[in-house]
Symmetry: D2
Subunit: 142 residues, 4 copies
């Protein structure tokens, strides 16, 4: 177990996310996070649409990539790596698009599913605020 | 063979991309396109960085998703689908991140590699303006 | 709801799998299945090893592909497709290898996670008989 | 540059593959290989069919996984790793199935597309002996 205070770390991460320029650009918000999970969202607006008038696939990919990273930040393993070797980074991101959406919220729940010695795997699911499945994602980080 | 004029279609697509809101938001530009290929780019700026100070993975995913879609738009097959069944959409997007980048250009070359009756597969490669490999991507559309 | 008898269909599928030549070649066995899930296994033997002396990745891919297919067979949707349009087939298979294994059992649990109108997505997890995670997989079928 | 004799290494690898039990079980043959590429094949036989009477997806996955590994074996980087840290292994395998096949040959050409410090990426394409595309694959190894 880490000697860190999880509540302090969480507060710090949520504060950081609120003011982070890229997150503001795409409207990415962290709703909740903990060691190995996160709940994040993007509020849709026409500027995020693709030419078919629905949320651009790249925005969903951004939501999943950022959400999965957030799920990893509070793990003890990540904190150790950050203090020693530097940041981990996504090596592989995979998105399955299930259903288009044009307004409301895209809410992404992410969780770390395997922490190996050299590689970490995580999965995510994106739903609308009406509970419809929008996308599935997975990522690997080293 | 389609009776369309490819040069007119290309001009129309390039014009459309220049003014499209989401493309402007992330700085996505179409440099060239034709039936089954495209060359697109995003000019990096600090607002597109992730918390590690390098281009956010979601932006690279956006570049690849949009670039691959662009590569499909001028194919006769897509034009037929557009006129009959409506738009095709990405069902699966897969990104491999090779190297971080913090400034300059991310240039994506996409090409359609297989056009089946029900599914289309395409591949993309992203390089920096210094010729370094940044990411590989593939997508399937139905 | 289908008018089929699920128990009869299950018995039929389990019987079929027992005598199927390719399944016997690699030692693939169906332990249980139902609409949208399956539990299958392969018993390791040296003939299935790769040159490093552990289970070949292709065998794990086979276990996952066959297991996921099995999970789909008892769904009403699949039975309708089989009766009308013919067989569905895997268009995309994705495996993440977590840990090598050289003896014992590789046990794969698969479940259908999304049934769209045109595409079905499923996920699988392979564990050893000692409960260690060996691989994660997902597949899409059209 | 390695001091190894590439021709000797190639002869050794081809000899090894010819007698390797798992390769014989599925009929996997190495036709050619070099640093960063390989050409391998599987001769179809009814025992490799799935219940629809076409080559099982797991066999194609095996062909691609084994073919990509073969493409890596002759690289200097791999030889150094083998001599120091031990074997590399596939962490991620991704197959796109393009077309079913029931007889003849499935021929897989693989090439390493990126050699990073920590991760290697390779791609493969499988064709029939009539030149039809059967599958695309990619894999990452660490």
């Amino acid at each position: 177990m880490s000697a860190r205070d999880p509540e302090k770390l969480k507060t710090k991460l949520l504060e950081f996310a609120k003011d982070f320029p890229f997150f503001n650009l795409v409207g990415f918000e962290v709703l909740d996070c903990g060691p190995g999970f996160s709940k994040c969202q993007i509020r849709l607006r026409p500027e995020l649409h693709n030419p078919n008038g629905v949320l651009h696939g790249g925005v969903l990919a951004t939501l999943i990539d950022a959400g999965i990273t957030q799920a990893m930040l509070m793990t003890d393993e990540y904190q150790v790596i950050r203090d020693t070797k530097g940041a981990m980074s996504t090596v592989d991101l995979h998105i399955k698009y299930l259903r288009p959406i044009s307004s409301g919220l895209a809410i992404c729940e992410s969780r770390v599913v395997h922490m190996g010695k050299r590689i970490v795997h995580a999965q995510a699911k994106v739903m609308s605020d009406e509970g419809k499945d929008l996308a599935l994602g997975d990522a690997s980080m080293i």
